[in-house]
């Protein structure tokens, strides 16, 4: 996902002089292609995330589309107020890029676990969340964001994620992408972010689930709540899956979205990480299993 991100960014920057990359002293082995090709549009803000986000907003106020790249909590919680006041309130084209979404950096400890980031970002009225599930969705999200510069949050994993989509999908905010069509009107999984691969694997392993559909939603926000009920109503059940805590997460967001249609509420099941993972340290797959994203739990 990281290489899909940087390749798209470099390609876009070739034709768009307003694209700037700011990093918080992170990105070794990832950001070099951009830094070498566009040294005048690359800035390492050092280990100073609040200034990094503030200056990104300043650059954006002068017409630059600024990508701010760092790990997990550093470009989000560490500079939450700069995102809220400077970026979101002023409606500026800053894309906050967090690598290591969810438990991608599980071994590095709680400081590096991004399992509350949706909760923070989705309460900001102008922020668009982009949580792609595979490298193809990364490319699609990047192209959408570059064509539609706005306050946004791109949450990606690390490296080596498999491609689930055969082609680059057409994405638009709030719209579900069909990965697999099961029984019409039956049950669908709905993922955002890295859990796409998890559910895709599950469905491949379990022939008994062949009636289940699989949808992903890489782009979502406060503004796209209104269009969810008409997508939910097509299924008798929707199981959301996310590598984030339930509190303030994606499933909670979907539930809130359909409160205008209370009869649909019972159709939603939320599969998210149990808060007992907060403080645990292990690799991503172990952490996701510890948090409850197991085959048994996802099928329950």
């Amino acid at each position: 996902m990281r290489s899909a991100f940087i390749n798209e960014l470099v390609a876009a920057a070739e034709i768009n002089e307003n694209i700037v990359l700011v990093v918080g002293d992170l990105g070794f082995g990832v950001i070099e292609p951009f830094a070498k090709r566009f040294p005048k549009r690359f800035f390492n803000a050092g280990v100073a995330e609040q200034n990094m986000m503030g200056l990104a907003a300043g650059l954006a106020s002068e017409g630059f589309h600024v990508f701010v790249y760092s790990i997990a909590n550093f470009p989000t919680f560490r500079c939450a107020e700069q995102i809220r006041n400077d970026v979101d309130y002023h409606n500026l084209p800053v894309t906050v890029v967090a690598v290591g979404g969810g438990m991608a950096y599980g071994n590095l400890g709680y400081s590096h676990h991004a399992v509350q980031d949706y909760a923070l970002i989705r309460t900001m009225p102008n922020m668009l969340i982009a949580a792609p599930g595979d490298p193809m969705e990364v490319i699609a999200c990047m192209r959408y964001l570059i064509s539609n510069p706005q306050p946004s949050y791109l949450r990606i994993g690390k490296a080596g994620e498999p491609c689930i989509h055969a082609e680059i999908p057409e994405v638009s905010p709030g719209k579900w992408l069909t990965i697999r069509e099961g029984y019409k009107g039956g049950v669908s999984y709905l993922t955002t972010g890295a859990t796409l691969d998890l559910v895709h694997q599950l469905l491949n392993q379990r022939p008994d689930l062949k009636s289940y559909s699989l949808n992903s939603m890489p782009l979502w926000s406060m503004k796209t709540k209104a269009v969810q009920s008409q997508q939910v109503e097509k299924f008798e059940g929707v199981i959301t899956v996310e590598d984030h805590l339930m509190d303030g997460g994606f499933g909670s967001w979907l539930l809130e979205s359909i409160t205008i249609r209370p009869e649909l509420l019972a159709r939603i099941k939320i599969k998210s990480l149990n808060a007992k993972v907060c403080g645990m340290v292990a690799k991503q797959s172990t952490m996701n299993m510890q948090g409850g994203l197991t085959v048994e739990f996802l099928c329950a």
Partner: protein
């Protein structure tokens, strides 16, 4: 009385009337920066009241957003907003909210939470540098605001990148919100610290228009500029000067009349 002094006097009078009408706080902080604003808008900055987005304009950011009445008043005096609009200050749904708002014509950036203006200004200065444009960025901060680590982060960045087109002005009135600077978090040796961070520092009387103009006009070849402006909180109204309670209080009818009379007298 010079043009900028006349301007400063009108800014002070407007500001007093605004906080009186709105029963709003922070008049002491507004009076403290008035002379700096009068020189910036009356003499130093390039701007175009008919086009707030004029590409060649110098950018001004008020980081101590609570002192907004002084800026709104200045913007009305130089033609960005109608003077009648000042009467709406603090009313429900007024654009002129009680911390500076970018929804007001001529305002670049909303603040209110301290420590946001300088990083944002660094971004603007960096944008000008990246595009090879010659406009300048001025950020006006409070002294208490220098408690915020973001300002020191921003100064490190500005010095490292030699943002000579950035000028920070620190309103050093020595009073914070509930006590003096010295009793809260001492800034001294303040100038030495700023110099050690790689800034060109000018230490001036923040009420001397001549010294303010000189300091604002000098641009270093290789460093961002910081002006440490020694000021008096509540400057221009005898009973407000150096009094911490005027961070919060608003003048009653009688106090307003006395304050305006004092200003009229100094005007004469």
């Amino acid at each position: 009385m010079s043009t900028t002094q006349l301007l400063a006097n009108r800014i002070r009078q407007n500001a007093l009337k605004m906080v009186h009408r709105a029963k709003a706080s922070h008049i002491g902080s507004a009076l403290s920066i008035t002379d700096i604003l009068a020189v910036l808008y009356g003499e130093v900055m390039h701007f175009n009241p008919t086009d707030q987005h004029d590409k060649l304009r110098d950018r001004f950011i008020l980081s101590k957003g609570h002192a907004c009445v002084a800026v709104y008043s200045t913007l009305a005096e130089v033609g960005f907003i109608p003077k009648e609009q000042l009467d709406t200050y603090g009313e429900d749904f007024s654009w002129l909210m009680n911390h500076i708002s970018h929804k007001v014509n001529g305002v670049e950036f909303s603040t209110g939470s301290l420590g946001h203006g300088l990083p944002f200004g660094v971004g603007k200065a960096l944008a000008a540098r990246t595009r090879g444009e010659t406009w300048r960025t001025f950020v006006l901060l409070s002294d208490g605001e220098m408690d915020e680590g973001t300002n020191w982060e921003a100064l490190m960045f500005a010095a490292h990148h030699k943002l000579t087109n950035l000028t920070a002005i620190i309103d050093y009135n020595k009073l914070q919100s509930i006590d003096s600077i010295a009793n809260t978090l001492a800034l001294e040796p303040f100038v030495d610290k700023l110099k050690a961070f790689g800034c060109e520092v000018h230490e001036i009387d923040g009420h001397s228009h001549e010294l303010i103009a000189d300091a604002l006009t000098i641009i270093s070849d290789e460093k961002p500029t910081v002006i440490v402006a020694h000021t008096i909180k509540g400057k221009g109204v005898s009973f407000m000067e150096k009094r911490i309670e005027w961070h919060y209080k608003n003048p009653n009818d009688e106090q307003l009349a006395i304050a305006l009379a004092e200003l009229e007298l100094s005007h004469a």
